[in-house]
Structures are given as structure tokens and as C-alpha cells.
């Protein structure tokens, strides 16, 4: 029983990372109808930035976090300008391919700059965690959970309570109508990318002490987060969270009870299942009949 609870806790922790990245997917998708295949690489960049700042430059941890977040916001703007904006009026295929290209560029750029050796970021906690009965609550996982919850609340407040948040929602729902009211649509989309990149970077900062920091970590997180989005319903914010958590739990239990090397495959098997049976996911609207 304790073992299962442990798995559950770990699964939710891992799932929170997926949820954060999936949230970034959902936001960009709603605003621009684009699936950003480079979303996971935002996490990878965040993790590597932490390595550079906290280890190589030996800056204090909290300062490294702030600088990383700021850098990711700027990067989101750059990404929008270079990858999405020139293609914003074209069909979905060039844009998908372009984001895939960006993903490869980022991963190999970092690889060239840093080399292939996996990095690691030590946990900053003096106390590695605490036990309650049979279950060990790892400090880093607790932090991940707490931060994820805080982010979801902050995001909710931003989108639901501020005028800018409302304007961004309006832009995702009906771009043309928003422009007719005088809402600066281009700037709203820019903000979406900046925020989404920051979310991705945050996921990277959170997960860096837990996993090895490698160039490929972004892709694998992204694929899982994508699977989570499909399960929860693509573009749906609640779906991203539920899907992410569900996937984390499924994967963790699968690794423990079935097989470790294939744990990544679970995500894809579940993904296949949903795509064949219920492509709109748990919360998504029916994918419209082709008209």
C-alpha cells in the first residue's frame, strides 16, 4: 500500500512537469492554432540555463532562477518573431515543420555549445525529504507540486481577473473580432509566446535537479506533454493539467509494474489509444466533422 502511494506521489510529481509543458502547448494553440513542437525545448533551455548560471558561473540559486525566467521570456519573444510570425498566414504544415526545425536547431545548438555529457544540478535542499509511514516525500517533488499549483492559480488569476488576460482570451477566441475592437492582436500573441516560454523554462528549472540535464530531455518531455494534451483535450487548459497528471501516474505505475526501459512507450500507447478511439480527449470538443 505504501509502495503504491509512493508511486502515486512520484507520478503526480512527474505529471506536474508534463502539465506545465502541456499548459504552454495549450496556450499557444488556442491563440494561434499552432502546435509548437519546440515547446519541450523551452524546458531544456531553462534547465541548461540553470546549469550555466548556478554551476558554471556559481551564482546564487535564487538569482539563477530569476535570470533564467527573464531569459526565457525574452526567448519566447525571439521565437515568435523568427519562427511563427513570418508564417502566420500560411497553412498549418509549414508552421509545424518550422517548429520542428526550431526544435532541432535548439537541441543541436546547445549540444554544440555544451557537449553531449549529461549535466546534473544538485538539489538545494539541506533536507532531502521526509517520511510519513512508508511513503517518502522527496523535497524536490514537493517543490514541483507546490510551484505547479501556484502557477495554475497565478495563471487563473491573470486570465480571469486582469484586463490583459481577458484580451488575450478574446484574441484566442476570435482574432478578427478582437482586432475590430482595437485589441492589439500581434502584441497579444507575442505575450502568449513569452508567457508560454517562461512556463516551459520553469518546468525545466523544476525538473533539472531530478533528472539528468541532457540535450534530448526537451523532446522527450514534449512528446509526453503532447500525449497529455491529447488525452486531456487539445487546447483545453483543464485538460492539459488533468492529462499531464494522469500520464505521469500511468507512466510511473507502468515503469514499476511492467517494465522500466519501455516506460516511455506507455505514453505513446495511451496516445495511440486515444487517437484511435477518442481523439478529442477527455475535455475537448468533438473534432468537427469534415465539412
Amino acid at each position: 500500500m505504501g509502495f503504491n502511494l509512493q508511486l502515486l506521489f512520484t507520478g503526480i510529481g512527474v505529471g506536474s512537469i508534463y502539465a506545465l509543458v502541456a499548459l504552454g502547448f495549450a496556450l499557444i494553440y488556442r491563440a494561434t492554432n499552432v502546435v509548437n513542437f519546440a515547446q519541450g525545448d523551452f524546458a531544456m533551455l531553462g534547465a541548461f540555463a540553470m546549469v550555466v548560471l548556478a554551476i558554471d558561473l556559481e551564482l546564487p540559486y535564487w538569482l539563477s532562477i530569476l535570470i533564467t525566467l527573464a531569459l526565457m521570456v525574452g526567448f519566447g519573444a525571439l521565437f515568435n518573431l523568427a519562427v511563427y510570425y513570418p508564417l502566420r498566414n500560411r497553412s498549418f504544415l509549414p508552421v509545424i515543420i518550422s517548429t520542428i526545425g526550431a526544435s532541432i536547431l535548439l537541441e543541436n545548438g546547445v549540444l554544440a555549445a555544451y557537449g553531449p555529457r549529461p549535466q546534473s544540478l544538485d538539489s538545494i535542499f539541506a533536507v532531502p525529504g521526509f517520511s510519513v509511514g512508508d511513503v517518502f516525500f522527496d523535497s524536490q517533488y514537493i517543490v514541483i507540486l507546490v510551484v505547479a499549483v501556484v502557477m495554475v492559480v497565478v495563471q487563473y488569476l491573470f486570465f480571469e481577473r486582469t484586463l490583459t488576460g481577458k484580451k488575450m482570451q478574446a484574441t484566442s477566441q476570435d482574432k478578427e473580432m478582437a482586432s475590430l475592437l482595437g485589441i492589439p492582436v500581434i502584441w497579444m500573441i507575442m505575450l502568449t509566446f513569452m508567457y508560454s516560454a517562461m512556463l516551459g523554462g520553469l518546468a525545466g528549472i523544476l525538473v533539472a535537479p531530478v533528472l539528468f540535464v541532457t540535450v534530448g530531455m526537451g523532446s522527450s518531455i514534449a512528446l509526453k506533454a503532447f500525449a497529455a494534451s491529447i488525452i486531456g483535450g487539445f487546447g483545453d487548459v483543464t485538460g492539459a493539467i488533468v492529462g499531464g497528471l494522469a500520464l505521469g501516474v500511468i507512466e510511473t505505475f507502468g515503469a514499476a509494474y511492467v517494465s522500466v526501459p519501455y516506460k516511455d512507450a506507455f505514453a505513446f500507447l495511451v496516445l495511440f489509444g486515444f487517437l484511435l478511439v477518442r481523439p478529442q480527449g477527455i475535455f475537448g470538443e468533438r473534432i468537427s466533422e469534415k465539412a
Binding site: 481577458k166 484580451k167 482570451q169 478574446a170 477566441q173 482586432s179 475592437l181 485589441i183
Partner: protein
């Protein structure tokens, strides 16, 4: 000088010429109706005025300023509000939020000011006050139309462009909508109204223009238009006397 002047405006969607040299004017304080069958170019005219579509040639002037080719954001700041066809209420936002966003062109307005103005809107449209927290997609067509007009009025426009406000609405609701339109004019806002439903439009308008395949066919006062055979044929055919038609 008329508030809105169009002179020989040509507009096209790709290869299709939707407007073939349109000239019209709207004086301050008027309600002007733009009539014609489907595909005649009425909606296109509004889209060109509000900046959603650039004109290929011709001039558009609003309060003396040339507006052809400006972006929609710039034009709404000058005082032109466009309530498009199909209402297009933001489905995931509440009625109150929709209305407040109507003031997005007023950069200097504070949130408090916008909230206060929204309350005034609920005064003008009491039918939607009970729904102020309801999400856009849950509203009926008539309620959405009220919200869309209120949202348009929030920008404090000098000119309100209304595109087919009666589309898809039951007759009783249409009457309510048109009561509002008449009230709006009474408060000093000029209205350019596009309608397929000629009767309703002409019952509130001071003047009307009739379009057919992108060109002006006839214009004048409502009584004159109603008696005009051309108006009937523009909608229902039946013109037999002219050769080649």
C-alpha cells in the same frame, strides 16, 4: 462635409471584384440603410470601412480624414465601431467581459471607468442585465445581438456600422433590436445599417442605398425606395422588360 464619404471604392477578394466603384455618403446624425440581395457587396462595404479589407482603389473619408488602408485598430480609435455579421460575441467570456472589451480602443480609460460605462450599457439594454455573468456561447441570438451592439457602443463611436443585425432572429426579437437602434441614433450616434430585411431597415432609416453585384442601383428616402420596382427586382427578380437580362 459628410461624416463618412466613399468615392468610387473598388474592393476584391482575390479575383472576385466585390465592389465595383461604390460612392455613398452618410451625414452626421443619420441612420442610413444599405440594402441588397446576398452577395451584393453590403458586408464587403462595411469591412472596407472598418479596415478589415483594404480597398483596391477609391477614397474613403471619415470626418475629413482619409481612412483607406488603415488597420482596424486605428480606425476604431478614430470613432468607427463595426458590429459584424453573426454577432461574434466571444464565446468563452461573460456578457460583462464582452462589453468591457468593447472599450479596448479607449487607451486612457481606467478599469473603473469601463466598468461604470458597462453599467450604463445595462441601463440601455435591461434585457441582458440578468445574464451579465453568463458565458457568450450560452446566449440566444437576440441576446447576443444586444451584447454585440452594447460592446460596439462602448467604444464611444461617432459612427456605428451594423451588419445584418436581424439575421437569424425571430420577428419579435428583431423589433426589440430595432428599438435599440432607433434609441442609439437619438443619443447622437450615426448609424450605417446593412440589412437583407428591407422592411425593418427602411422603417428606421432616413435614407437608403440599394446595391446589386457591387454597384449602386438606386438610393433615396424609404418611401421612394419601397415603391421602387428596382428594389423589388433586386431581391426577387421579375424584371422582364429589359433586353439582355
Amino acid at each position: 462635409m459628410a461624416l463618412l464619404e466613399l468615392e468610387n471604392v473598388v474592393a476584391a477578394y482575390g479575383n472576385i471584384r466585390a465592389l465595383k466603384g461604390l460612392t455613398l455618403a452618410v451625414e452626421e446624425g443619420e441612420i442610413v440603410a444599405l440594402l441588397g440581395a446576398n452577395g451584393a457587396g453590403k458586408s464587403t462595404t462595411l469591412r472596407v470601412i472598418s479596415g478589415l479589407m483594404p480597398p483596391q482603389s477609391g477614397t474613403l473619408r471619415f470626418a475629413g480624414r482619409s481612412i483607406g488602408g488603415l488597420a482596424p485598430g486605428a480606425i476604431v480609435k478614430l470613432g468607427v465601431a463595426h458590429v459584424p455579421e453573426g454577432r461574434r460575441v466571444f464565446p468563452g467570456l461573460t456578457v460583462r467581459e464582452n462589453i468591457i472589451l468593447g472599450g479596448s480602443n479607449r487607451e486612457r480609460a481606467s478599469r473603473a471607468e469601463l466598468e461604470a460605462d458597462a453599467e450604463k450599457m445595462f441601463g440601455i439594454f435591461p434585457e441582458i442585465k440578468p445574464f451579465e455573468a453568463a458565458l457568450g456561447w450560452t446566449l440566444s441570438g437576440g441576446q447576443q445581438q444586444m451584447v454585440a451592439i452594447a460592446r460596439g457602443l462602448m467604444s464611444r463611436p461617432k459612427l456605428l456600422l451594423l451588419d445584418e443585425p436581424s439575421l437569424g432572429l425571430a420577428p419579435l426579437i428583431v423589433q426589440q433590436v430595432y428599438r435599440v437602434i432607433a434609441d442609439v441614433r437619438r443619443d447622437g450616434t450615426t448609424v450605417l445599417l446593412v440589412e437583407q430585411n428591407a422592411h425593418m431597415a427602411l422603417s428606421v432609416a432616413d435614407r437608403g442605398y440599394v446595391l446589386e453585384t457591387g454597384q449602386l442601383v438606386v438610393h433615396g428616402k424609404p418611401e421612394a425606395l419601397w415603391d421602387n420596382e428596382d428594389v423589388r427586382t433586386a431581391y426577387l427578380g421579375g424584371r422582364r422588360t429589359q433586353a439582355g437580362r
